[in-house]
C-alpha cells in the first residue's frame, strides 16, 4: 500500500462549478431585476398563441407579447417565492430545532402537533379561504405561502436536529451556559446546514408554483399577471401551438431553482483533503 500523498488541487474546479451555478441563477435574476426597465410600453393584443409578427417569442394566452411578459414577470416570482421560502425557514428552523432540543415532551408536542393539523388541511382550502376573506396582493401572499411550506420544513428541521441536539457538544454548550439561541439554533444549524440547503432548494420551486395556483384562485398576483409561474400555468393550453410561452418562463424558473441548488452544493462541498484523519478527529 503505497501512499500517494499529493492530492490534486480542487480549487479551480470548484471555481468553475460556482461559475455554472451563478450563471444559472444570474440570468433569471438579471431578467427579474432589470427586465421591467426594458419591457417597453403595452402593445396591442394579437391573437393568442400566435408566432411572428414582431413577437419574436410569439404571444401568450391573452395575445400579449411573450418576451415582454418574460421581462416583466420575474420580479414577483423572485420576490414572492424567495421571500416566502425565507420566511418559512425563519419560522421553521427555530421551531423545529426547539422541538428537537426540548427535553419536555409536552413542549415538543405543543410545538409540533399543531403543525400536523395544518399539514392535514389541503392547501387548496387555505388559499381559497384567504382569497375570499382577504383578497391579498403579492406582499400578503408571502405569509400564506410560507404558512403552507412551514410545517413541512419544520418537520424536516426537527428530524435533522434531533440527533444533533443530543450530541455531547451540545451538552458542553449547556455546561458553558450558552444562550438558548446558540445551543438550540446556532450550533445545530451548522450541523444540519446541508440538509437544510437541500430542503430549502427544493421547496423554492414548490413555492413558485403555489404562487401560480394561488393566482388562479385570486390570491396574490392577478391570474393574467406577468409572472413566470403564472405564465407557465396559464399558457399550457398553447404548449403545442406556441411552446415559448411556457418554455421560456419554465426554463428561467428551472435555471433559478437549479442554480440555487447547485450553488448550495458547491458552497457546502466537503473540503478537499484526506478523509480518514479528519474523521477520526471529529
Amino acid at each position: 500500500m503505497n501512499s500517494t500523498p499529493e492530492r490534486p488541487r480542487r480549487g479551480e474546479r470548484a471555481g468553475r462549478r460556482y461559475a455554472v451555478a451563478l450563471g444559472l441563477i444570474g440570468l433569471p435574476l438579471l431578467i427579474a431585476l432589470i427586465g421591467p426597465e426594458f419591457a417597453g410600453p403595452v402593445q396591442p393584443r394579437a391573437v393568442s398563441f400566435s408566432a411572428g409578427e414582431g413577437h419574436w417569442l410569439g404571444t401568450d394566452f391573452a395575445g400579449r407579447d411573450v418576451w415582454r411578459q418574460v421581462l416583466l414577470g420575474g420580479r414577483s416570482v423572485v420576490l414572492v417565492a424567495v421571500a416566502a421560502t425565507v420566511l418559512a425557514y425563519v419560522v421553521a428552523v427555530p421551531l423545529g430545532l426547539a422541538a428537537a432540543a426540548t427535553r419536555r415532551g409536552w413542549v415538543a408536542e405543543a410545538l409540533m402537533r399543531p403543525l400536523d393539523v395544518l399539514i392535514a388541511v389541503p392547501s387548496l382550502l387555505v388559499v381559497l379561504l384567504v382569497a375570499a376573506l382577504f383578497r391579498p396582493g403579492p406582499a400578503e401572499l408571502v405569509p400564506v405561502i410560507a404558512l403552507v411550506a412551514m410545517p413541512d420544513a419544520a418537520r424536516v428541521v426537527a428530524a435533522a436536529g434531533t440527533e444533533v441536539a443530543a450530541r455531547p457538544a451540545v451538552e458542553a454548550l449547556r455546561m458553558q451556559g450558552e444562550s438558548w439561541w446558540r445551543i438550540t439554533v446556532g450550533y445545530p444549524l451548522r450541523a444540519i446546514r446541508r440538509t437544510l440547503a437541500a430542503d430549502a432548494g427544493t421547496r423554492l420551486a414548490s413555492a413558485l408554483y403555489l404562487v401560480a395556483t394561488a393566482a388562479f384562485l385570486g390570491v396574490g398576483v392577478a391570474p393574467d399577471a406577468a409572472d413566470w409561474a403564472v405564465m407557465v400555468d396559464r399558457n399550457r393550453p398553447g404548449l403545442f401551438l406556441q411552446p415559448w410561452a411556457v418554455g421560456v418562463p419554465a426554463a428561467l424558473i428551472v435555471a433559478l431553482s437549479m442554480g440555487t441548488n447547485l450553488a448550495f452544493d458547491t458552497a457546502l462541498r466537503t473540503p478537499p483533503g484526506g478523509r480518514g484523519r479528519n474523521d477520526e478527529r471529529r
Binding site: A62, R64, A131, F216, G218, P223, D224, P237, F240
Partner: protein, 495 residues
C-alpha cells in the same frame, strides 16, 4: 307558430356516404365528479344535458336558430288569446314499452315545478298554470297559461324540461323515451348506453354509446388522439388550432354557442348614467377581445344577445371602438378619470383574460379599471347583487328567454338591474302578438333600445369546439351547444 328547423348540416367529408350501423362511440365530457346523478331534471352541465338527451326527450327542442322544433310533440296550437295551448303528442314509447302519454307530460312538468324542489327548469315553466292544465286525451295536453305567451313553445324546449314516465322519481336505472337505453353508470366516471331500436325518430346507428368523464381539457384531447374516445367535447381554441387540418382528428366549431360580455348595473353609479354605459361600449375593441380572450375562436358581438338567432336585430349597425366619443360621453356625464372595479373570476373560459384586456382598453380612454378576482363557485350569485361591472357569459337560448330571465323587472337573474316599465310592457306586447312579422318588428324595437342604453356589453360569441375521431360521421356543425343537433348521438355513426 311551431317552427321546423331544417336538419343540421352534417360534418365530415363530402363522400361521407350512407350511415353505417354498429359500434360503440365513447364521448368524453367534462363532468361534475362523483356527485353526478341521472335525474334529467337536475341536468346542469353539458354532460348532464347530453346524457339526458340520449335517454329522454323533450316535447320540443331548439333548432340552430333557437326556434323550437317539435320532438315528442307532434305540433301545438294556441287559442286566440295565446293563453291556452294544446300540444299533440306523437306516438312514442318509453324504454319499458309503455307509451308516452299526456299523463306523463303533466307529471313531468309538475315535478319540475314542485315548489318543494328546486329544479333548474322551474323558472322556465313559471308561465304555466299547472293546476288548470289538463289531459285532453292520452295524446293531447292542454296547457293553461297565466298570461298570453306567443312563444310558449320555447317553454316546451326549455333547458331540462324532459319528459319522464309518470311517477318516476328515482333515476338509478333511468327509463326514458330517448334514442338510447340505460346500460350501466358509475358516477363521475362513465355511463354506458345501448341502442333503442324502437326509437320514434328512427333507431340510432350506434350499438352503444358511452359517456366518459374527463374534466381536464388536455386529457380529453389526449384520450381522443390516443384512440381511447371518439368524441371530445369542449376543447380549447388553442388545441383546436393545433389539430385543425392536420388530419389526425376532426375539429368542429359550433358557432354562436356562448355569448361573452360584461354586465353593467344600470341602477348604480356610474352606470346609472346611460352615457357612461355607452362610453364603455365604445371603449371595447371587440376584435382584440375575441382574439385575446377567445384565442380568435368566435365572432364579435354588437351588445345584443343571440347573434344569428331568430328575431336577432342584425340590421343594427355594428358598434366599434371609438375612444374619442367615449371620452366625450364620459366628459358629458361628468365621469372623467373614472375608476371602476371589474369583477371577474375563473368561472368561465376567457373571463380573466377579457377583463385584463378590457382594463388596458379602458386605460386608453382614461378610465381606470380595477380587476377583482372573485370566487368561481359563488361568482354568479355574487355579481347578481354586488358590484357594478362584471364579466358575463351565457349559453344559447332563445332571445325571448334571455329577455324574460334577465331583463324584466321581475326577472330572477337580472344582472344588469335593468328595470323599466316601458320595456316590460313591450315584452308583454310581443307575447300577445300572434303575428310573427309584427313580433319581429317589435323585437327590433326592443333590441334597438337595448343596443342604445342597455347594461349588457356583449363583445363576442364564442365557438364551442368539439373534436372527433376521423371515422365519426354525422356530427352536426351548425348547432350551437344546447340545441337539438348538438351532441345528438343518435344521428352519428362510425365510418
Amino acid at each position: 307558430t311551431g317552427g321546423t328547423a331544417e336538419p343540421g348540416a352534417r360534418a365530415g367529408t363530402p363522400g361521407e356516404g350512407t350511415p353505417r350501423r354498429g359500434g360503440r362511440l365513447r364521448a368524453a365530457f367534462p363532468g361534475g365528479g362523483a356527485n353526478e346523478t341521472l335525474d334529467p331534471h337536475l341536468a346542469n352541465l353539458f354532460v348532464d344535458v347530453a346524457r339526458a338527451k340520449a335517454l329522454f326527450d323533450k316535447l320540443a327542442d331548439y333548432g340552430a336558430d333557437l326556434a323550437p322544433v317539435p320532438r315528442l310533440a307532434a305540433g301545438w296550437e294556441p287559442n286566440a288569446t295565446l293563453d291556452t295551448w294544446r300540444v299533440r303528442l306523437r306516438p312514442a314509447t318509453f324504454h319499458d314499452g309503455r307509451p308516452v302519454t299526456a299523463e306523463d307530460v303533466l307529471y313531468s312538468f309538475r315535478r319540475i315545478a314542485d315548489p318543494a324542489r328546486a329544479f333548474r327548469a322551474k323558472a322556465a315553466l313559471e308561465s304555466i298554470d299547472h293546476a288548470a292544465s289538463r289531459v285532453v286525451d292520452p295524446a293531447t295536453v292542454e296547457f293553461r297559461l297565466k298570461l298570453p305567451y306567443a312563444e310558449f313553445p320555447n317553454v316546451l324546449a326549455a333547458f331540462g324540461a324532459y319528459i319522464v314516465p309518470a311517477g318516476a322519481d328515482s333515476f338509478e336505472r333511468p327509463v326514458g323515451s330517448g334514442p338510447f337505453v340505460f346500460g350501466s353508470f358509475k358516477p363521475g366516471s362513465s355511463l354506458l348506453l345501448r341502442r333503442n331500436d324502437g326509437y320514434w325518430d328512427g333507431g340510432p346507428h350506434l350499438d352503444e354509446l358511452e359517456f366518459v368523464i374527463a374534466g381536464e381539457e388536455s386529457a380529453r384531447t389526449n384520450a381522443l388522439l390516443g384512440g381511447q374516445v371518439e368524441y371530445a367535447h369542449e376543447l380549447n381554441p388553442a388545441t383546436a388550432r393545433v389539430h385543425e387540418g392536420r388530419g389526425r382528428i376532426t375539429v368542429l366549431r359550433l358557432r354562436n354557442s356562448a355569448m361573452q360580455g360584461f354586465v353593467m348595473k344600470t341602477d348604480r353609479p356610474p352606470f346609472d348614467d346611460r352615457r357612461v354605459r355607452q362610453a364603455f361600449c365604445l371603449i371595447a375593441d371587440r376584435r382584440e377581445l375575441v382574439d385575446g380572450a377567445l384565442s380568435g375562436a368566435g365572432e364579435v358581438g354588437n351588445d345584443l344577445f343571440g347573434k344569428g338567432y331568430r328575431y336577432y336585430a342584425a340590421s343594427l349597425p355594428q358598434r366599434t371602438q371609438d375612444l374619442a366619443r367615449a371620452r366625450a360621453l364620459l366628459r358629458e356625464a361628468g365621469a372623467e378619470g373614472l375608476t371602476v372595479t371589474l369583477d371577474t373570476a375563473p368561472a368561465a373560459t376567457g373571463f380573466v383574460e377579457a377583463a385584463g384586456i378590457f382594463k388596458e382598453q379602458a386605460a386608453k380612454a382614461g378610465v381606470t379599471v380595477q380587476v377583482r378576482i372573485g370566487n368561481k363557485d359563488t361568482y354568479w350569485k355574487d355579481i347578481l347583487t354586488s358590484g357594478t361591472l362584471a364579466s358575463y357569459r351565457s349559453g344559447a337560448m332563445p332571445i325571448e328567454s334571455h329577455v324574460s330571465q334577465r331583463l324584466l323587472t321581475g326577472s330572477t337573474t337580472n344582472a344588469t338591474h335593468w328595470r323599466d316599465r316601458d320595456f316590460d310592457e313591450l315584452y308583454r306586447q310581443i307575447q300577445s302578438t300572434p303575428d310573427e312579422a309584427s313580433r319581429t318588428a317589435l323585437y327590433e324595437r326592443m333590441q334597438r333600445r337595448l343596443h342604445d342604453e342597455g347594461g349588457f356589453l356583449i363583445w363576442g360569441f364564442a365557438d364551442w369546439i368539439v373534436a372527433t375521431a376521423n371515422r365519426v360521421r354525422g356530427v352536426a356543425t351548425n348547432a350551437p351547444a344546447n340545441t337539438l343537433d348538438w351532441a345528438r348521438f343518435d344521428k352519428v355513426w362510425l365510418g
